[in-house]
């Protein structure tokens, strides 16, 4: 699995960059974790939305998630994705709570189901960006 060539690679700033840098360095999804109350938050925030604490770390999560929502793109204006339609994008709800947007691999447009368990894999692209893949829960390798 590989992020499409020429797909947009962001150059994140502030906490978004810290989040991606931690994820790239760990080789797996790391989510902001409040040092005070333990709340997981994504995207990362300077103050914890639960306790207003400002100390946190980016900690590796289990990668277990379920499909909260999804969409199927039947057309695109982007050259990077033109040959890939119809492509599926998931909103995956991590077991830890936060939701992320991820590209689906191993699903079909007419059978993808809200609630279905998935597993999240990351693909390092730059020092500051990793692409997220969601695969069927039984997947053990990306």
């Amino acid at each position: 699995m590989k992020m499409p060539d020429k797909a947009i690679v962001p150059q994140p700033e502030e906490l978004d960059r810290e989040f991606y840098r931690a994820t790239v360095a760990a080789g797996g999804l790391c989510i902001q974790h409040c040092s005070h109350c333990g709340t997981w938050t994504h995207p990362a925030r300077y103050f914890c939305p639960n306790c207003s604490g400002s100390e946190f770390s980016f900690d590796k999560v289990s990668g277990r998630a379920s499909i909260y929502s999804y969409t199927v793109s039947h057309t695109t204006a982007e050259a990077a994705w033109k040959d890939l339609v119809p492509y599926i994008t998931l909103v995956a709800e991590l077991d830890e709570g936060p939701r992320i947007v991820a590209a689906a691999h191993g699903f079909k447009p007419d059978t993808v189901m809200i609630g279905e368990p998935v597993r999240i894999f990351t693909e390092n692209r730059t020092e500051d960006f990793a692409f997220f893949w969601a695969q069927p829960a039984e997947s053990t390798t990306p």
Binding site: M3, P4, A7, I8, V9, P10, P12, E13, D16, Y20, H42, P43, P49, Y68, S69, Y70, T71, V72, S73, H74, T75, T76, A77, E78, A80, W81, L84, Y87, T89, V91, P98, R99, I100, V101, A102, A103, P109, I114, F129, F131
Partner: protein, 394 residues
């Protein structure tokens, strides 16, 4: 603490809109200035009477509007940063400024080249004017890498959950598109006049990004519109019957700058705003004679109908059945054609139409003897706004 009640303190006295075009000869600034001067003249006022300006959330700034119109003494300006919810939210802000005496005559305007910016003519001058919003950081960092680069794609992340979780039939979204298109046939300024639409044609429209078909999306337009508000006392001396601001509110989902981590991704700012606006106005949803609902996408309009209280979450398809939202029905919606079929003017065209209706100048689309109506706004990633307007001073 009870807020000072703004209801009935201010009225819309001037309206104007440009043509709705694909490929305007005028620049954004020219269109905005033209609509603004039109609204001031429609109010029977002069630029020197204006002392408050609320500019669009991007493209053109208040100071160039003031300078080009010749407004010599701006006492108050503020910009409402919520995309398509800005225009309707501005009515609340303007009423506050007027009722408190900070300003006497407030001009609000929105305009853009929503078509030409994306598809410029070969001979067009380069256009550097941009709409900017904080959530673009979210989109850039978390959605765009996945081939979700513009509004239909990122909104689909939650609209598909709405369609699937509540089994919303495509015909329900289609009914929104059809009502707007039907009403556009009565509006000489609508881009989609002379192009009627059937449910069969709607259902045959190609899927863009699920659940959105091409005909679920509003139309790219070059246009501008403007309205002028003043105190109810001053409004009584001006040429048109005042259209009174009876209630209004804005609301924002938590968290406002990101879509998918809300407790329920279907939460709209309008869920929070609508009850406050009805309470301020002292009326109920049943009192409305028409609904001008922000219709960037048909499914968003369905969710707004639910947020207004006309249906439970997931139940709007029952409300919109049997022509209920068409002229002749109980709650005619978007009597000008809306963003779907008149053109995309960021909802300022919905306000202009609400005023036309309440002046009883709605032409062939007039809602007979209407007295009360509402306008909504929806913008960025779910910001909401609402205004309840009434005919004459009350």
């Amino acid at each position: 603490m009870n807020a000072f009640n703004l209801s009935g303190k201010a009225a819309i006295v001037g309206i104007a809109e440009t043509d709705y075009l694909r490929g305007a000869d005028q620049s954004i600034l020219q269109m905005i200035i033209s609509a603004s001067m039109g609204a001031i003249r429609d109010a029977g006022l002069k630029p020197g009477d204006v002392d408050g300006i609320i500019p669009p959330p991007g493209f053109v700034a208040w100071d160039e509007i003031a300078a080009h119109l010749g407004v010599p003494n701006v006492r108050y300006t503020v910009c409402s940063q919520m995309g398509g919810a800005s225009a309707t939210a501005s009515l609340l802000t303007a009423a506050m400024a007027i009722a408190s005496g900070v300003a006497d005559v407030v001009l609000m305007t929105v305009g853009w080249n929503g078509y030409s910016a994306i598809r410029p003519r070969p001979d067009a001058r380069p256009n550097k004017r941009r709409f900017n919003a904080a959530f673009f950081e979210t989109v850039k960092n978390y959605y765009a890498p996945y081939g979700l680069r513009s509004a239909p794609w990122w909104y689909s992340l939650y609209l598909q959950r709405y369609a699937r979780h509540y089994n919303v039939p495509p015909e329900a979204a289609g009914a929104i598109a059809l009502a707007c298109r039907k009403h556009a046939q009565l509006n000489p300024k609508a881009m989609m006049r002379d192009r009627p639409l059937t449910m069969e044609e709607y259902l045959a429209s190609p899927l863009i990004v699920e659940p959105l078909r091409k005909l679920d999306c509003c139309i790219e337009t070059d246009c501008a519109a403007a309205v002028v508000m003043t105190s109810i006392e001053r409004a009584k001396d001006l040429p048109h019957v005042p259209v009174t601001f009876l209630g209004g509110a804005e609301g924002h989902p938590n968290r406002p700058d990101e879509l998918v981590n809300r407790k329920d991704v279907l939460d709209l700012g309008l869920d929070l705003a609508a009850p406050r606006a009805f309470a301020m106005a002292g009326v109920t949803k049943e009192d409305m004679d028409f609904l001008q609902i922000y219709d960037c996408f048909t499914y968003v309009a369905l969710l707004e109908i639910e947020a207004l209280g006309y249906a439970e979450r997931g139940g709007a398809h029952e409300f919109i059945k049997d022509g209920n939202i068409e002229l002749g029905g109980r709650f005619p919606m978007n009597t000008h054609g809306g963003l779907m079929s008149q053109g995309h003017c960021w909802g300022m065209n919905h306000i202009v139409e609400a005023v036309r209706q309440l002046r009883h100048e709605g032409g062939k689309a007039q809602v007979t003897d209407c007295e009360l109506g509402l306008v909504t706004g929806y913008g960025d990633l779910g910001d909401g706004s609402i205004a309840i307007l009434g005919r004459g001073s009350r």
